[in-house]
Amino acid sequence: MTPLLQVEGLEKHYPTKSGLLGRSGGVVRAVDGVSFSIARGETLALVGESGCGKSTTARLVLRLIEPTAGTVRFDGIEVSGKAELRALRRRVQVVFQDPYASLNPRLRVGEAIAEPMEVHGVGDASSRAARVQELLGLVGLAPYHAQRYPHEFSGGQRQRIGIARALAVQPELVVCDEPVSALDVSIQAQVVNLLKDLQQRFGLSYLFIAHDLAVVRHMADRVAVMYLGQIVETAPKRTLFAAPRHPYTRALLAAIPHPDPRRRGRVAHLGGDVPSPVNPPPGCRFHTRCPHAQPICREQAPPLREIATAHASACHFAEDLPAFDAAAAEGIAPLAAQRLALYAAAKARRSA
């Protein structure tokens, strides 16, 4: 079966200008040869630090910006001309990170949700109004919320509005660009649960952009880790978390705060910042921060290669990395776990 989305060799380079005369300087390789695919009903997570090119990749998939090179195929058809683009615009929708910036403050919520339907000529005024009511219910808001303005809502509610708007024209793929990063942990959990419920109900595919692997664990089927414009590791979720085969993936996992004070201070954290994409380091781009770097890493760029079925890593020493310390698997205290289970049971009883 053809994948719903197939991205091949995607590149986005920006020329940098310097000086008063705007002479061209270097080239920012924001996205530098990225390939992946997403099957129907699947969630692929794209993970990495700020500046790794994950949001640029999302914008390229949405064709909000034009790629320097590479192809995007949607449902087997290459998106290039205007007609394909119009179809893509309806079948692919997006949920942005900042629910404060992504809603027009002067549109009532009902109007904002109906807008994509108007743009694509779906239904008439009364059917659209009915659909708005239905969508509000789907995302856990009330019908009267359609008459309100965005400033009357909390961050979590605004993100629900953003999701309702994305679903209005029944897309097949939803690009979620850090949809929960700006929210409180408790509200993140609500929105993550909602996205999962909606996926099950409508068979949606997600391209889920995130910088936090812990959230990804709950959302994704497969994960691709990006660093400086390139994918450095990709694997099914379980494999990636149990046996990561790239030092950068391991560093991201180690950085997640763990809700257990007994584990405190056990991991050495990754130093430094992401280097500039104008002048990426030679050889392996991660070698400047890598605890396992060898001379070869400074000279030769490791290709992304398959090291097991469906598991690829761009590390010269992917097979030779020390066994991964799955210290995170220690779990929480028994009494805390027991009370959490009671909480879950009581909550289930209340909602039943």
Binding site: A189, L213, R217, R264, G265, H269, G271, A328, Y343, K347
Partner: protein, 331 residues
Amino acid sequence: MSQPLLQIEGLRTVFRSSVGEIAAVDGVDLAVPRGRTLGIVGESGCGKSMLSLSVMRLVPPPGRIAAGRVMLEGRNLLELSPAGMREVRGSRVAMIFQEPMTSLNPVHSIGRQITEAMRAHDKTASAAELRDRAIEALKRVRIPAPERRFDDYPHQLSGGMRQRVMIAMALACRPALLIADEPTTALDVTVQAQILDLLRELQAETGMSIILITHDLGVVAEMADEVAVMYAGRVIERAAATDIFASPQHPYTLGLLGSIPRLDEDRERLLAIEGAVPPPFALPKGCRFHPRCPFAIEACKAAQPALEQIAPDHLAACIRAPVEQAVELVA
């Protein structure tokens, strides 16, 4: 035990509004021991930031501190003159915020901003002396090549570097207490880990106390010695960090714990807390958490539970805690 560095008693911060006086902080008692970290946890709108602004006496109008005492090193900060309080800010208590970009002045170099803070508390130092001390401060927060960075502007730095600069400014006058209000919320997890490491190292070096305000119990577990969980303007659970995580008592604390996506567990759904924190002008009667609490019973709607000892050195404000006993009563 020796006297804590900071002791807050019965603190109440109110805002006047069209519906009358509303309390953003509603009777809070807390203590921060010397050289230790107190983590204050809760969702947006629970009053944790207003609490820290109250300690600094920086509550924005029309808000005001209506009652209570804030004892720092034996002095009640609420009784100081405005000039006396200015002296305390920066030199005894300093604060860092979530978004370093909005707390730094974009049109001045970071070096100038650090020396400015130093000059406010030391009028006699020469410019060259201040420059040396600022570079020293940048070095302390592990900024590489601080001599070069001195003349950089905030936009030339990454988010993590900017937060390091904020910490350098905050610690320039060696305060006894650092209040960190969501210091890592806007940062990548890798940078967050670096900043938390840095704060721990600086605490070990200087012996300062830290109040860490966050919505993330994971961050609290990494940093705090003592934990206070806040909800709707009140502290609803207080204990040592090890006890909070080994034996969380209040259902709200359980909900926060259940909301954290964990690496060590394959759950299909996260255990979210439904709904949101009620605004201070529309607080429910009785326990303020009862509309969102899966354990709530009629009695919870009747009276506000007091913060009481539920185990040694462990306080909780819940008539249903510990919940394993409550559930037996229901069944």
